[in-house]
């Protein structure tokens, strides 16, 4: 039949069923198929998400040091980004790599992500102990910078494959 797509939904409406339901069902399918991929693909995504999180945390810390950010906003930002890292870590942890190479990659990624989490712990402690105590905000920043470098190396390694 010659129905231009432009009017098909409206014109068919009375005779055929509801296009909306099909749309919603398809959308639910999209939800389910959204997450898949191999080990290095997943590690690469996790590393990218985490480096975005660490970079955010570093900006928040720096802004806090410059007096641009309130404590409430800075600590909320750190909490949000730590959650992001933890999500990435649990995806990597759940991977079941087939080859030895992939297993090494998974191990390496977990180490780096642990380093990130540790960096976040230092940064949050720094934010909690008010000015002058240990760890200081710059200690937190240093820890996060270390994590960022490690992430960068891993990213390059995964990317080069």
């Amino acid at each position: 039949m010659l129905i231009t797509p432009a009017l098909a939904p409206a014109a068919k409406a009375r005779t055929h069923g509801a296009p909306g339901f099909a749309i919603l069902a398809l959308a639910a399918l999209a939800f389910l198929t959204g997450c898949s991929g191999g080990t290095s693909q997943s590690v690469s995504t996790a590393v990218k998400d985490s480096s975005s999180a660490v970079a955010t945390a570093r900006i928040a810390l720096r802004q806090d040091m410059d007096g641009k950010l309130t404590r409430a906003a800075a600590s909320t930002t750190l909490d949000d980004e730590l959650k992001e890292v933890q999500t990435s870590r649990s995806t990597v942890l759940k991977l079941s790599p087939a080859s030895q190479e992939d297993r090494d990659l998974q191990k390496q990624a977990l180490d780096v992500l642990d380093q990130c989490a540790a960096g976040f712990a230092t940064a949050r402690a720094a934010l909690a102990t008010n000015d002058g105590g240990t760890p200081s905000l710059s200690d937190g920043d240093k820890a996060l910078a270390g994590a960022q470098d490690a992430l960068k190396q891993l990213e390059d390694k995964v990317g080069s494959k």
């Binding site: 231009t4 432009a6 009017l7 409206a10 014109a11 068919k12 409406a13 009375r14 005779t15």
Partner: protein, 115 residues
Amino acid sequence: MILGDLLGTPVFDDDGGRLGRVADVRFVLAGTPHQLMAEPRLLGLIVGPHSAASFLGYERNGLTRPHLIARFLQWRHRGSFLVLWEDIALVGAHSVRLRPGFTRYSAALDNDEKA
């Protein structure tokens, strides 16, 4: 009977040839007058050979815009005609049969209504 049941029912001529489906039912306010409005008396059926789907309002002569939509719907409903009550032989649960020698009238409506 419930009018919704009649919409979409196939329409046949006296020899059993299929003419289309009931796309709309036309009434005329000419029955017994009540206090408020006269009773709507069945005038006839609009039969659509290609589609019994809604005209979306484009059966009226005055409605021609947007041009492409109007043209499309007129094309979808090409050949639609009005058949008067006098030419209806039988209304069944699953079909409507017309009398021999029924007349096809133009289904178009004048756009003479008030808002």
